[in-house]
Each structure stands twice: as structure tokens, then as C-alpha cells.
Symmetry: C2
Subunit: 117 residues, 2 copies
Amino acid sequence: MDACEARIVDAERVAAVRVRMPGDSDLKDTAEVFGLLSDPGRLRLLLALVEGELCVCDLAVVSGLSESATSHALRLLRAHRVVSVRRAGRMAYYSLDDAHVRMLLDLAVAHTEHVRD
Amino acid sequence: MDACEARIVDAERVAAVRVRMPGDSDLKDTAEVFGLLSDPGRLRLLLALVEGELCVCDLAVVSGLSESATSHALRLLRAHRVVSVRRAGRMAYYSLDDAHVRMLLDLAVAHTEHVRD
DNA sequence: TCGTCATATGAAACAGGCTTCAGATGTGGA
DNA sequence: TCCACATCTGAAGCCTGTTTCATATGACGA
């Protein structure tokens, strides 16, 4: 079936792992989500949004990024449906729009506050 | 104190966010952990280890990486204390060694299995 | 001790991502 | 209609990270 690889030491365990291993597509998606959280700037943006919506200029101030960099980052997050926009005149208010990501953020903050490594 | 920025729209909320925002160092660490999970190859390696230790060659087979790439990836994960090694003769058995990362992996898998997006 | 095997390492190539700069879009007020 | 403002966008430059190739280390068996 899916044999034909190099020398395998623990064939039984390898087989078991393969069964539970998610598919390439799911794995790629998951890696991408983690990737979105792997940048300090984006992480700050998202953490800022945990408690509610904020406009781009406030997000820029809070994150320490330039407004252009902020906009680029938000565009990326928007493309992945992690945040959503509400337009009000010339302002744009962003908010968290992904329960999964919110969970990851909560977990990360909890761990940050609780652990001294 | 920490004033002197550009125009701020919602000063109150900005102040509140700033209070809860983790420090630069914690933020960087957290981003790095997510970064370790942001590569499909490393993700496969770690998922393979969820159920127990495996040697390098089996990890290479399961992850689809070359043995060299696998070794490089494991070295990186080892440097961040995410995995640990047990040497047995010329073999090296790796295992998950970070409860936080294990939690993130479980959460990711659960989400992968449960959600169709 | 010699050769082979499992793993580790270094350097280089290559790709991808983030930031900046300049300019575009679109809104609100005079 | 014209200008100022908030945000968005595109292209370029730079930096980082991942892979491959070649080689090194260290252990086992003859």
C-alpha cells in the first residue's frame, strides 16, 4: 500500500502513527494557523483584539507597528478569516473572528502568565 | 509614561489593552513556540511523537523528510526543549518533552478532526 | 582495528516573509 | 468640487529559515 521506504525500526508504531496522521491538506492548514501566530507583531495585534474591536490606528499604536505594516498584517489575517472588518466611514474596526485562534491565544496568555521558564 | 504616540481613537481601550499586553520577552517566546509548529514537516514530527518515542529514521519515514532534514529539525526542537533524546547505542530515540506543546498539538488535532472549513 | 551503520553537523542555495516607501482608494467637511 | 484624513495596496529590499550535499562523529560487529 504505502510501503517502499527505507529501513524501518519499529514497523508497528510507524504504522500506528501513519493511521492517526492528518492528511497533507489539514496539516498544511494547521501549520498556517500556527504560522499566523508566530510573528510578535501579529501576536500583539491579535491579543489586542481579544477583548473587542479596535481601529487600525489604535492597533498600530498598541502593536508598535507602522500603520502600513499593521494594514499588511491585518490583510493577511483577514485573508485567513482570523479577523473581520467593520467599516464606519473612513475608519475600519477589526475584531477576532475565529474561535479556534481565540482559544490558542487564551492558552498562550495563560501559559505566559503562569509559567516562569 | 508611555504616551507620545500618534492619534489615538479609543484611548480608554488602548490603555486597557496595554495593561494586559505581555512583555516583549514573553511575546517573543510565545511567537517562537508557535513558529516551531508552523512548519508541516516539524508538525508531522511532533504529531508522530504524541504517542511515544521514535528513532530518527522512523521519524524521517513518517514525516516524509530526508534523514538530514529530520535531524536538523529535531536539533531545532531540542534546542527549544520541545523534544528530548534517549541514546541507545547508535540509535537516538526522541520524545515529546513539553506539556504546553503537547496541549497545542492535541488541540490542533482535535480541531482538524472535528471541523470542516 | 577496520568497515559499516545511525545520526549529527556545516556550508551554500534557495525560497518565503516582513517592513518600508510611495502612491492609490474612498470618505467627510468646507 | 477640493482638500485632508484613514486605510489600503504594490513593489523592492532585506533578513530568516529550510533543504540539500558532503562530511564528521560515534557505535557495533567481524
